[in-house]
């Protein structure tokens, strides 16, 4: 049964050198285990796209003062949430200088830089990184235990006692094990993004920022009634802008993804920000947005799954986070594998500490708490009616109709609700539901 465990077998193969994979490899290498990271891109981060902000608090214990060396674009000191219709926009704009100084809060990055930086830490700790190497499948023993990975390198089998799949949203390894369905459009969104060049001082003037300071804007109502949202964030000398939309609704809409971005960019609240900007890179990526209830089992015999491969992106309304969840899960997977190797039991039971560890920290606690948020946020009324309601009420509040006196707020709300065909009972029900889901 152990013919796959050749003498050169390493303790752990980590598939994917994204934030989950590098965090797992780092944790294992620090515990003295032999780890090989397999990355199909020419460098870590080359296949990866994200939509806004990396929150790296979870690295505090692992890379002390990481902010002094991380390849940051800008530190986010302004976080806006914008609700829009075709010709209106209402923003809640949060700014605090606390986020612009150590230990910082969120940052914008290029994934090609950030992921490569984290992978370098794993390598410095002793992990081996094989780039330009595709994991084509798993090695199994006769009892159905995972014993390594196959790769497309010459002589490419990599036997290992544990495989940690951090191979991203399409995880073919988790599919091979049977943890994920072949295709699952209902629980995925498509993100498309443009990175647009503007001089750093122009970005700072337009967005009210000092050098090194950044802005992140999350937007609802900018996707032409396709459930989803938009985002815009500042890098040093580029602005990244994109939309994230339901896969099933997009494919039925007849609307092309680049048309959605073009529409968002031409919105009167957005277009002046981007005047004269030049497209530097267009990108697209799937996002697993099913949340807690769509997550697969996280461990089988000799096998763990972390990050997007396990559907760990949090898309809970105003909170949109993924890289931090991937790093948190990767660290836990690496530590669990180290414990299991020390105990000499890498069976599913021996690896069950992984889930317990995630349940005891933010990864599964946040997901569990907001498990019903994805559905609520993408619901029809939230997406197509409430943006109009909010914008209309705000507009009417500040429209001076002299000599007519100001109408009361309740009257404004009733009038806007009527105009947008929103029933009060739905509004009340959704309000209670929102409080329940986000409590």
């Amino acid at each position: 049964m152990t013919n796959a465990q050749s003498p050169e077998a390493c303790d752990v193969v980590v598939v994917g050198a994204g934030p989950a994979g590098s965090a797992a490899a780092l944790a294992l290498a620090r515990r003295g285990h032999s780890v090989v990271m397999v990355e199909r891109g020419p460098f870590a981060g080359s296949k990866n796209v994200y939509g806004g902000v990396v929150y790296a608090r979870v690295l505090d214990d692992v890379i002390p003062n990481w902010w002094e060396q991380v390849p940051v674009q800008r530190w986010v000191v302004r976080r806006s949430t914008m609700v829009m219709t075709g010709s209106q926009a209402v923003s809640v704009d949060v700014r605090t200088q606390a986020w612009g100084q150590p230990p910082y809060n969120g940052m914008t990055v290029y994934r090609a830089d950030f992921d490569a930086w984290l992978a370098e830490h794993a390598v410095a700790a002793g992990a081996k990184l094989l780039t330009s190497t595709l994991a084509t499948g798993l090695l199994w023993d006769r009892s159905g235990r995972v014993t390594g990975v196959r790769t497309d390198r010459p002589g490419g089998d990599l036997p290992a006692k544990v495989v940690i799949a951090c191979d991203g949203v399409n995880s073919f390894l988790a599919k091979e094990v049977g943890l994920l369905p072949r295709a699952d459009a209902a629980h995925h969104t498509l993100g498309v993004k443009e990175v647009l060049a503007l001089p750093a001082d122009v970005i700072e003037e337009r967005f009210g920022l000092m050098p090194d300071e950044g802005l992140d804007v999350e937007v609802i109502g900018c996707t032409r009634e396709i459930p989803g949202g938009g985002f815009l964030y500042t890098n040093r000398d580029t602005v990244s802008i994109g939309v994230v939309v339901s896969l099933t609704a997009l494919s039925r809409s007849g609307m092309r993804p680049e048309e959605l971005i073009a529409g968002f960019k031409s919105h009167p609240a957005v277009a002046p920000w981007l005047r004269g900007a030049v497209l530097k890179e267009y990108s697209a990526h799937l996002i697993p947005e099913g949340g807690y209830d769509a997550m697969p089992d996280l461990a089988t015999d000799g096998f763990l799954v972390a990050g997007d491969a396990a559907g760990m992106t949090l898309a809970a309304g105003v909170w949109l986070e993924g890289v931090n969840f991937a790093m948190g899960a990767g660290l836990a997977a690496g530590r669990t594998a180290a414990d299991a190797l020390a105990a000499g039991d890498v069976s599913a039971a021996g690896l069950s500490g992984y889930r317990k560890s995630l349940e005891s920290n933010f990864v599964l606690q946040d997901h569990k708490r907001f498990r019903e948020a994805p559905k609520l946020v993408l619901s029809d009324r939230m997406q197509r009616q409430y943006n109009h309601l909010i914008c209309d009420v705000a507009e009417q509040m500040f429209t001076v109709t002299n000599p007519a006196p100001k109408p009361g707020l309740l009257k404004l709300l009733a009038r806007s609700a009527r105009r947008n065909r929103v029933h009060f009972r739905d509004l009340i029900r959704d309000g209670i539901e929102t409080i329940r889901v986000f409590r």
Binding site: L134, F172, V195, N235, L250, S251, E259, K265, R275, E281
Partner: protein, 101 residues
């Protein structure tokens, strides 16, 4: 939402795709069974693929190319007939390279 503004209209799809680095491998990592596609009336892949790699042909089939693929997985996820699109990753080192993802 207002229609796409004049300011952006000059950016053709080809220009858009020219901003992306692709290291094209010899093996096609997407294979489409055009016989299955002929009976498909919805053509989700044609609408949703962000790289616009799928085009309907006059005889009811689907023409596709794999060279400028973002490797996102949208096509096989939205395809309503299992088996029409066989999708894998390109070989190691090939495919899309994002610099500012």
């Amino acid at each position: 939402m207002t229609p796409a503004g004049e300011e952006w209209a000059d950016l053709s799809f080809d220009d858009r795709m020219r901003t992306v680095e692709f290291r094209v491998g010899a093996r096609a990592h997407i294979v489409v069974d055009s016989d299955v596609c002929r009976s498909c009336t919805t053509r989700e892949c044609v609408t949703a693929c962000p790289a616009n790699l799928f085009a309907p042909t006059s005889d009811g089939g689907i023409l596709f190319n794999y060279e400028q693929c973002f490797e996102c997985g949208t096509c096989y996820m939205v395809c309503n007939s299992a088996g029409a699109i066989e999708w894998t990753y390109p070989d190691g080192g090939y495919g899309v390279v994002f610099r500012r993802g």
